[in-house]
Point group: C2
Chain length 398, copies 2
């Protein structure tokens, strides 16, 4: 297996640090628009090399694949670049993995009721082409989407006879020393995903709601405790119902009431806008100004404290037919990930899952063709290998 | 009386519209840095003329005073320009009026406990000079400070034998059609005054508190209803105890919980900063970006609905020695002020008070020398003349 890792940002660099400890691959070419970031990440292992790539250009991706005889393209950049990388890998005859999916566009008339273009629609429209040439695009294989989808498969196969709801629930108790307010992830992206109309699967169809709908306090395990969660647009809701029978699928993000209030305020004041406004003699995008006023999340690892939890709350009937409500989850402590890998817990937890998936593809445990989500594969070997990597998952009856 | 009105912004233009209906003066020279604004305001009356002024230059003010034989300088610009206008008037031998006072600077070590340089300190430091030449500087004669201070004098002379608290309370129920969030006054100035340490007079001394302290729901009269009020730095607290015996003096602003949340969020994200940050290739002040994203308050009058209330809550013992709690207030309905004068209620309510004061000075009812607040004069003729102008005040026992 020869991997082209596109993106040497937070998640890409953590991917490299995790992969460096495994022997299932022959080479990883780490490519970034900023070649110095790629070179920095590539020092971790002799099998790593660095390259420059323009992720907005399918040709640039295809060229690199051919140059390095790439078998698998691992997309670790911003979802704006999903389609060119996906197409570039296809043209080069390589398999493809990402941790998000192609972007949505709201319904033009009823954005908070009906879906327009959904997350992943552009990729699924190409599924037959991938299948016909026997190539695999494994989409949404980070932690959420990713591990959450593996949990859905596991619940359906081994825990439940009937599923009412597959509810992904994400929460953390992270704090950052020295800052009143310091998001541990890009505020630009958070604004984007939280202000898009959240999508819900219910009774055989997808629909949308207004942002921050259906607030719910979820009690997260391992000492994180109760966090206010709200509906957010996320890939799981589009992936799970394609392979796992369920009456309802939701994603709720434990933003906490403080963060929700900040996002609502930014929207109310028009500070989430990406188009430019005139300010004195210059023009700037207000959202860029907001990002410039906050600390860079990639540099916060050493000041962060606490744990992050990704998981899936499954409600339905157990194998014995009795009502069952179970939370399957994965917690990472920032102190541990910083000490073990030098990467903060949020990016580390995202990055470990595609490494596990690639190892299963390399040794033939997982195989397939077409555009598939993580729930299209057997969950047990994935969860076993995750535990073998030193990062076990948990299960709690609710 | 020959008046130099400096500033043809919202309040200055409303001052001109109100003064045009009175005959106590010979001439008003309306001066602004932007001479077109001055010319626009000057068309209201034959006795008005327009001029250009640099309000940051005392010499520019003195020159205009001498050129037009000015007897009274009326300062209607941003409080950053109080000192040059105050000094320029003094040098020209003119009397002076303003609607704010010279600015404060926080205590360097304990900003939220102790006062540093207080509002008006720089002006009061010059009081003897004004007194020795027999000239008057009447400071803080808008609505708040201004009418609120007149109420303090009235309460002490006619309603109370002993005063525990002089609590200015300002609230409104204004909405702006077509906007989720549209402040009816400058967001730049509101951030400045609300994020400065609020000052309180208690037991014979001034002290400060953290911003937004001592939240209290005050029930405003004439249908405005309950509004959340918090401590804000304001001139009344510095003025009233100099002339009126009281155990405590406070100012609480009915910002409402939504506006308070917005201001706290802007501060938390560093978006209240006035120094410039780099954003891509340009540099901007985040507070200017916030202002640029919001509608211009001067243009909102026709879309505004509701009433604004300024007043003073007095707690103590009545003339009969029994406990008494009375709110003295002045309410302006935006629909009325727009129809009658073409100016929105917040600026109109500010502007009427210095016109009334100038009329009392012109006819000799009020006289004095030195640096004096409105509470240094007899309140009754002021309140009677305000009513005669068609804008009566009210009184409510609480």
């Amino acid at each position: 297996m020869r991997i082209l890792l596109i993106g040497a940002g937070g998640v890409g660099a953590a991917f490299a640090a995790i992969a460096a400890r495994r022997d299932f691959f022959e080479a990883v070419v780490i490519a970034d628009y900023n070649v110095e970031s790629a070179e920095k990440a590539a020092v971790a292992d002799d099998r790593f090399s660095a390259a420059r790539v323009d992720a907005s250009s399918a040709d640039s991706v295809t060229y690199l694949c051919r140059e390095h005889a790439i078998t698998h393209v691992m997309n670790a950049v911003d979802p704006r670049f999903v389609m060119p990388i996906f197409e570039g890998a296809f043209a080069a005859g390589a398999d493809y993995l990402d941790m998000a999916m192609s972007l949505s566009r709201p319904h033009s008339e009823a954005p908070y009721e009906k879906t327009g273009v959904k997350l992943g629609d552009e990729q699924f429209a190409r599924a037959e082409d991938w299948e016909s040439v026997g190539r695999l695009a494994l989409v949404g294989i980070g932690v959420e989407p990713g591990l959450s989808d593996v949990f859905a498969r596991y619940a359906a196969d081994h825990l439940f006879s009937e599923i009412d709801e597959l509810g992904t629930r994400d929460g953390a108790n992270l704090t950052v020393d020295g800052y009143d307010f310091a998001p541990s992830f890009s505020i630009w992206t958070t604004i984007e995903e939280c202000l898009n109309p959240p999508v819900i699967w219910e009774n055989g169809e997808w629909r949308t709601t207004p942002p921050f709908s259906e607030p719910e306090v979820f009690d997260f395990p391992e000492g994180i405790g109760p966090v206010e969660c709200v509906n957010v647009e996320h890939e799981e809701v589009l992936l799970m119902p394609r392979w796992v029978d369920c009456r309802r699928a939701t994603f709720k993000y434990g933003l906490g009431d403080e963060f929700i209030e900040v996002l609502k305020t930014l929207h109310k004041l028009g500070l989430d806008r990406t188009d430019k406004v005139k300010v004195g003699g210059v023009e700037v995008s207000p959202r860029d100004v907001v990002a410039a006023c906050l600390p860079n999340p990639a540099e916060l690892g050493p000041r962060m404290k606490g744990k992050t939890c990704a998981g899936l709350w499954v409600i339905g009937k157990g194998k014995d037919g009795a009502p069952r409500s179970t939370y399957l989850y994965h917690v990472v402590d920032n102190e541990w990930s910083m000490q073990e890998y030098g990467h903060q817990c949020v990016v580390w937890q995202t990055a470990i899952n595609p490494v596990v998936a690639l190892e299963l593809l390399a040794n033939g445990t997982w195989s397939g063709s077409g555009v598939l989500g993580p729930e299209a594969f057997d969950a047990v070997p994935f969860l076993d290998l995750l535990t073998e990597y030193g990062s076990p998952w948990g299960l709690q009856e609710l």
